[in-house]
């Protein structure tokens, strides 16, 4: 059995206890999407403000476990201020790390670094929790898709 220290790294617990970018944005101009994990009932809402191809602001609301909440918090920090191409590349990198990218070898060519997000690497050893970690990322994609950008 993999140890819990792989899962509950200090930085993850820090983001869980003190989530960044919590709140809501006015829609419109911001785009909004709701994500649900039908297995556990976790809910997350992502607000994304896009100006001239840049994700200028992002807010997260909803409730969930430490993995879904910390992943959302770290994601919000990582994508804020990035171009949409960089955001797509980050999503791809993150999904590769979570072992669920459809085309791990063939993602966007834009250079991006996961940074703190690498702390979530250990989630892969707990397959049931991968859905928790990815929930906010899919919801962000959904918000951007609904904005048709």
């Amino acid at each position: 059995m993999p140890g819990l220290e792989d899962l509950y790294r200090e930085i993850i617990l820090d983001h869980y206890r003190t989530p960044r970018n919590r709140g809501e944005l006015e829609t419109p101009p911001a785009h909004m999407a709701e994500g649900h994990n039908p297995l556990c009932g976790d809910e997350i809402t992502i607000y994304a403000q896009v100006e001239n191809g840049i994700l200028t602001d992002i807010k997260v609301s909803g409730q969930g476990c430490s993995i879904s909440q910390s992943s959302a918090s770290m994601m919000s920090q990582a994508v804020k201020g990035k171009s949409l191409a960089e955001v797509q590349a980050l999503v791809h990198r993150f999904k590769v790390m979570m072992s669920i990218a459809e085309d791990p070898e063939d993602g966007p060519l834009v250079e991006v670094k996961l940074g703190d997000l690498e702390a979530l690497q250990g989630v892969v050893k707990f397959p049931v929790r991968i859905k928790c970690a990815v929930l906010s990322w899919n919801t962000l994609l959904q918000a951007l898709q609904e904005a048709d950008i």
């Binding site: 819990l4 617990l13 976790d42």
Partner: protein, 413 residues
């Protein structure tokens, strides 16, 4: 009742998976409301049938097939006796309990429910007793009414008669899979009938843990699953009053359910075949028969008393140890609750709790338990749930209490 008549340590030893050691720790299985473990008796009956007796049932003349048919039909008779059904042909085997309620909604429901008709459910139902009605309601434009809950998680029957006024059906659980609440089944069946409504009982959480008497309940239709009562998965049971089942149209069409088939149509078989299209789960039904034998030998009254003692012990242990840090949902009175404990603990998300408990091999469920409307009432997206069965003992409740401490350590709360 003296539960010392049963050697509960020997009962525990009957379940091979509970002897398993993972990372030098024993398994503490507290997820029986989800699905139960299987004793040697069930595993052996299924393996023995597959090794020595497997064959089709009901349709071949050779001795092997006759033996298999006898075993299969004997399981039906065991279920009949177990729930005190008047007639053996009233026992219908389905794929699972969920299919049983879908059968009811799609046959009785489609035949009898039309625009504006009223279906009454409760706020503590499992999705299996909500969604099939909602599907039918969308198609037929039905009204669904809900019996609310009291603050301690029992059914609030204050306005029962007005809720039932004009209703065609009352469909409700005998025991909540989240709160553990036992509902007053006979009283509800009587109230339904007084209002001219059919009484349908979800007995999935009840039958595995209690003496069941469908006649004493006065119910019209009752459904439950094999896998929660130490039997295998893949089988559900529907019991219905014979006249009612006769009047219901068939469900799935195909082999076994027909009386005759011609180019211009078909006639239905007699009960129970009418509702059992296709080859059934032969091995699993025989396994269920062995499960009924196993439980009957111990005695369901003993099982219930054992679980009451254990629930009382677990509630006291968790309260003594954690006081207001733990919030256990549902009624405190063990006379009206089964051995299901849904709880919130120190603000730690149930998913995280179950993950930490898993390190101690303590298996609990975390999530919405397929009862999202109820979770909304509880003000939570999810709860942690520990559920006990005949093979659990006080040491399992202690292991749960100990493991909760380690969750506090990690989350620093």
């Amino acid at each position: 009742m003296n539960t010392n008549l049963v050697d509960w340590a020997a009962v525990k030893a009957d379940f091979p998976v509970l002897q398993r050691i993972i990372d030098d720790q024993r398994l503490v299985y507290l997820d029986s409301a989800n699905t139960s473990q299987k004793p040697h008796a069930v595993i052996d009956a299924m393996a023995d049938f597959m090794r020595n007796g497997y064959s089709p049932i009901s349709r071949s003349a050779y001795q092997l097939a006759a033996e298999a048919t006898d075993l299969f039909e004997a399981a039906r008779a065991k279920i009949q006796k177990f729930i005190n059904a008047p007639h053996v042909e009233e026992i219908i085997f389905t794929k699972n309990a969920t299919e049983a309620l879908n059968l009811i909604a799609q046959t009785w429901g489609r035949e009898n429910l039309h625009t504006g008709d009223i279906v009454v459910l409760t706020h503590m139902e499992h999705h299996a007793n909500i969604v099939p009605w909602q599907m039918l309601a969308a198609e037929r434009n039905l009204e669904i009414r809900w019996i609310p809950l009291t603050v301690d998680g029992q059914l609030d029957l204050t306005n029962l008669s007005s809720l039932l006024t004009g209703a065609k059906v009352l469909s409700f659980t005998a025991m909540s899979n989240v709160l553990g609440t036992l509902t007053p089944v006979a009283q509800l069946c009587q109230a339904a009938h007084a209002a001219g409504a059919l009484a349908i009982v979800d007995a999935c959480q009840y039958v595995p843990h209690n003496v069941t008497d469908v006649q004493a309940w006065g119910a019209d239709l009752v459904w439950f699953s094999s896998h929660k009562m130490v039997g295998p998965s893949g089988v559900g049971v529907l019991w219905g009053r014979r006249e009612l089942l006769h009047a219901m149209p068939p469900f799935l069409g195909g082999g076994n359910m027909i009386g005759d088939v011609r180019l211009d149509g078909f006639t239905c078989a007699e009960l129970p075949s009418k509702f059992e299209a296709g080859t059934p789960a032969i091995v699993e039904v025989i396994g269920l028969g062995a499960a009924v034998d196993y439980l009957s030998k111990i005695g369901m009254a003993h099982v219930r008393q054992h679980e009451m003692n254990l629930t009382d012990y677990a509630l006291r242990t968790l309260d003594d140890r954690y006081g207001t840090d733990i919030c256990i949902h549902g009624p405190r009175d063990i006379a009206v609750r089964g051995a299901v404990l849904s709880f919130a603990f120190r603000g730690i998300h149930p998913h995280d709790l179950s993950q930490v408990l898993d390190q101690k091999n303590v298996c609990i469920r975390a999530g919405h338990h397929c009862a999202k409307p109820l979770m909304k009432l509880l003000g939570a997206n999810a709860t942690a749930r520990a559920s006990f069965y005949l093979y659990n003992d006080e040491s399992d409740a202690d292991a749960l209490a100990d493991a909760l401490d380690s969750a506090s350590d990690i989350f620093g709360l």
